[in-house]
Amino acid sequence: MASSSVPKGTPNFPEYQTEEGRLKIFGFWVFLAAEVVLFSTLFATYLVLADRTAGGPTGKELFEVKDFMIETMLLLTSSFTCGLAVLEMRKGNKKGVFIWMIATLAMGLGFLGMEISEFVAYVHEGATLQTSAFLSGFFVLVGTHGAHVTLGVVWISLVLTQVAKRGLTPMTCRKLFIGGLYWHFLDVVWIFIFTAVYLTGLI
């Protein structure tokens, strides 16, 4: 495709070694910037509707500090291990990549399990998508994040099978790196859910 010369200042890492890798990583950054706006729309809606509980349960009644703190810790730690996996990838250590990435995925699954049981508990307390505008906003905002995490788990697992088959080539490294970016980004979104939904709900 485009010019073959490597632009000045390009890092000397496997994921950046091909033109395609450089384009795709940058493209993914742009996509993440779009995701910022996507989530911001959900946040705006949630915040506007947060007080409209229509007689149903409020956030204060529903949110459990212990539960959402464990969820937060799982995601923060998984972001850290995911970072370590990318570090190992750059060192060319396939085994290290697998150890840290599988740890990441395990914590991601733990997070998802907790979130699902949280949602199930809410539904049992009579707090569903159909109960009030507040809960519609809540379930769709937090659920969209959860769906992203699910997608992330599936995606990174598939990339790992490709790494297992093909080793750490520039192409698989690019895929791993992008998967990692996605994972960290989900952590960023969660921080804002943690702040704007859970903490604000309890203040």
């Binding site: 007080d51 409209r52 509980t53 229509a54 007689g55 409020t58």
Partner: protein, 313 residues
């Protein structure tokens, strides 16, 4: 080959358009350009001022456009004419940035002042009358809380008295508009809003729903009659004496989607009253919500927000 090259057709077309526009100005003496009250007058003045400002730009650009096209058409230039190689002209560019800034300021200042003025009574020293205007699919219901009467699809107001319309909707959004008396405002089911209008003199106007609301939206026209205060009062008396009372059931039936003729009632049920709007865009009226759970107590005016369960206040 058409005789287009010589440009005659183009000028003919342009001239034709100008004629069409100019001749159009005469029969337009209705609607927005025929203000019959202080609110409409204020908006009319603003519109005319903006037309003046915009005309300046239009004329300057049109003249430049025509002159440049006539002067520099390839067919009019000598064969060896070479356009100069210029990149721009900072001075000129500053000029045509600065002038639009000035024009925008000249329009923005009266815009802002009018925006604030229109939120207030057009005649603060006169005692206003309140009328509740409610849109429902596809009819207008007018309630006169001070007189206790209700009309459907027609409106009578006292002339020379500021009218404070309390606008709401039963279902779809609509917009309440009487062009001769002033600009419109939406009617919304969850958010009653106010609109001030006033007629200078007695007269008849046409008002309408102006925001698409479904099948028979086009039929949501209503007549507006401004009467002298004494005539208005005797009309109210007449309605009170002769018109039927409206039962809860009749009111419910009226709200069902469909079109109806003009109707007049000497009373309306309590449930038909439009609830006070509330601050902060919180929901109100017709909704059972638990206000005790709301969090923004510190927000101004939240306390005395009358929702359904505050009706005792």
């Amino acid at each position: 080959m058409l005789p287009l090259r010589n440009g005659a057709w183009k000028w003919l077309a342009v001239a034709g358009m100008m004629m069409a526009i100019l001749s159009g100005c005469e029969p337009v003496k209705m609607g927005v350009l025929n203000p019959k009250g202080p609110v409409a007058q204020k908006q009319y003045d603003l519109i005319i001022w903006s037309v003046v400002l915009m005309s300046v730009i239009l004329i300057v650009v049109f003249v430049l456009f025509v002159v440049i096209l006539v002067r520099f058409r390839a067919s009019k230039l000598s064969k060896d004419y070479e356009p100069p190689d210029v990149e721009g002209n900072t001075f000129l560019e500053i000029v045509w940035t600065a002038i639009p800034v000035l024009i925008v300021v000249a329009l923005a200042v009266p815009t802002v002042t009018s925006t604030f003025d229109l939120e207030k009574s057009p005649s603060p020293n006169k005692k206003p009358i309140t009328i509740e205007a409610t849109s429902a699919q596809w009819k207008w219901i007018f309630k006169y809380p001070e007189q206790g009467i209700e009309t459907v699809n027609y409106l009578k107001i006292p002339a020379n008295v500021p009218v404070r319309f309390k606008l709401s909707s039963h279902d779809a959004m609509n917009s309440f508009w009487i062009p001769e008396l002033g600009g419109q405002e939406y009617t919304m089911a969850d958010m009653p809003m106010f609109l001030w209008l006033e007629a200078d003199k007695p007269g008849k106007f046409i008002g309408r729903g102006n925001n698409f609301s479904g099948r028979d939206f086009a039929k949501m026209e209503f007549t507006v009659e401004a009467k002298k205060q004494s005539d208005f009062d005797s009309w109210v008396d007449h309605v009170k004496k002769t018109a039927p009372k409206q039962s809860e059931k009749e009111y419910k039936a009226l709200l069902k989607p469909g079109t109806v003729d003009l109707k007049t009632y000497s009373s309306y049920p309590k449930s038909a009253e439009v609830k006070e709007p509330n601050h902060g865009g919180m929901e109100h009226g017709g909704m059972d919500m638990d206000h005790s759970k709301m969090k923004h107590e510190d927000m101004e005016g939240m306390e005395d927000m009358p929702g359904m369960d505050h009706d005792k206040n």
